[in-house]
Amino acid sequence: MDTDLSSQDRKDLDKFIKFFALKTVQVIVQARLGEKICTRSSSSPTGSDWFNLAIKDIPEVTHEAKKALSGQLPAVGRSMCVEISLKTSEGDSMELEIWCLEMNEKCDKEIKVSYTVYNRLSLLLKSLLAITRVTPAYRLSRKQGHEYVILYRIYFGEVQLSGLGEGFQTVRVGTVGTPLGTITLSCAYRINLAFMSTRQFERTPPIMGIIIDHFVDRPYPSSSPMHPCNYRTTGEDNGATYPSVEDSQEVCTTSFSTSPPSQLSSSRLSYQPAALGVGSADMGYPVIFAGGLNAAHPHQLIVPGKEGGVPPVPSQPAHGTQADHERMVMCTPLDGALYSAATPSSSEDTETVSNSSEGKSASPHDLLETIFVRKVGAFVNKPINQVTMASLDIPFAMFAPKNVELEDNDPMVNPPDSPDAESPLQGSLHSEGSSGSSAGNTHDDFVMVDFKPAFSKDDILPMDLGTFYREFQNPPQLSSLSIDIGAQSMAEDLDSLPEKLAVHEKNVKEFDAFVETLQ
């Protein structure tokens, strides 16, 4: 009933609700763009900032929102919904969240439209700003880029929550009572992120440019096209993260990018692993190892920087991925060196891995061939079945004595003439347990997670802390520490000993005088 509401108030209220809906959409989509949002406060009112909040208007988003609303306003039974979904480079997509702006019949006649309602809508928008950073999809959207993108879709009408999977959760952002009804803003978000269990991941080129997808056969009444929440090209690196993984970066992870300086470092560093018999694909550990593989050498905390644009997401055995995914969510990598997948099903993974690794081991090396030429053979021909890092969750598991019989074949114990790349610990540590890492199952099942050293900013500048750290992670071995030289000098010492003794005997008197001065 709006007999109590003056026409001016009614007009104002309609305007407020309309702009509130538009601003809501802007806030939600901007929060899923994958970058930090920053707007300035201004003490003098510009007159164009609705609800006294500086919220930019992305024209395309406004256009979509207006199209969806098509002149109507949210009312009972007609809600405005913003659907956020994730789409991988292979074309899988999954709904992550649905934000609903609803109106119900409970009216608050006493409230003053131009003042109280306006301020409360402003407060609700601030709450929305806070809540959009809090749902799980925010962290996913910050890492979009190579592997997946975040898309949005606006529709008007009945809320469709079926695409969110089982057990989705709801958070209510807030409500504002108006004389025409109560506006409610809420979000339903997916909890179960395991949709990828049926797909086998393969290495694909990164998504370049903006993806526009038109879903023609969506089951919803108003099938509007999906739009990417990403307005920049994916030339920037967002790390080759596993799409459904929560952000679990830390010290020892890595990311690959196409930025030139980091490619330089990548070529340098990749030598190290090659010499150690570990493929560059191994480097990245930390989040998960489907193959139960922990190739983490304590030195090699980080993967050789960034490879040219190809994220080393390994192929995963099909049946293992479900388990992998769960492990993904559960495991927390901290220190790549220490972490080995404590995975229940890793033994079976190893098996499958051994079957698939033959074929797969070639692929990760495609890009690395130029660098690792010598080493490819070491992995490919290596018998796989002896490697089982399965279910080892003790630190330094890879150095536990095992598979000793492999030493003879181990390229690390008898390294072919690798120029410079043997780290000091290699001799002592690798000879024991490095076989695990050298197996061909290295590159199959691991996930790249962003390497984010504390206090470093986003990897916008080429030479930032992370790159620096990676570059200088593996210095070449000191020459004085190499065994050969040591042995050589020992022999020389022995030979020269008689001469030295003769010289010293001659100078006995001087020495005695010196000793006396000390006393």
Binding site: S42, S44, L123, I131, V171, L338
Partner: protein, 277 residues
Amino acid sequence: MGMRCLAEGRGAYCQEAQRPIIEPGLSRAFRSAVWRRGSSALPSPAGKAGRACLQAQAAMNCRSEVLEVSVEGRQIEEAMLAVLHTILLHRSTGKFHYKKEGTYSIGTVGTQDVDCDFIDFTYARVSSEELDRALRKAVGEFKDALRNSGSEGVGQICLEFYQKKKSRWPFSDECIPWEVWTIKVNVVNLANEQERQICREKVGEKLCEKLINIVEVMNRHEYLPKMPTQSEVDNVFDTGLKDVQPYLYKVSYQITDSLGSSVTTTMRRLIKDTLAL
């Protein structure tokens, strides 16, 4: 610090008259409410109501919310800033510009996202460097006090929104809180990197829950001070910042020692002193 409730340390408002309960006879409903001053309070005008307090009435009038977090030492600052900034985001408006005939226009509040270095968390705060500096200073002092206090590492930081009530000479103004947020902090010590990594994520999730709680409280649309006239604006808002205008607030903290009692009740006025004299 103005009139404090005996047990709870809260002030009181009369909701009907939209004024703090100061003078006797102000409101029939609350005539029997009497207050006792805290030790650091200012002298109050003569003729005030007496000294006892009706706890229930106090609870009705000043909103008090308590949040608890367990964090590692290096996460204290970021966790506190995330919570305080989120609260202040909701309790700040643009600068008021009064025009004639009692109308005013409001400036614009910008926001920016802040990524935490030690917690897997991002929060949105008001784009105001002055406000950020003030909060950082307060949180920094709290963190230092907490780290220096002893091994237990339990403390709380309070963000209090208050209104000033001008008193007649020679007495200075009263500060009547209308909303108090208490954040209890429990500092844990972790043994190794693995636990720290888990803590990063757990604290991130906890902060998400806390923010949802805060937003829930904010959207109950309970008592807020009335929008003031130009002469009264300094009694309600902090007009000292150049780009935004939060409600008058102060931050204080308490460190609890291992015995559980407040040994160092260090009530510090970090921002916005109430001593007008």
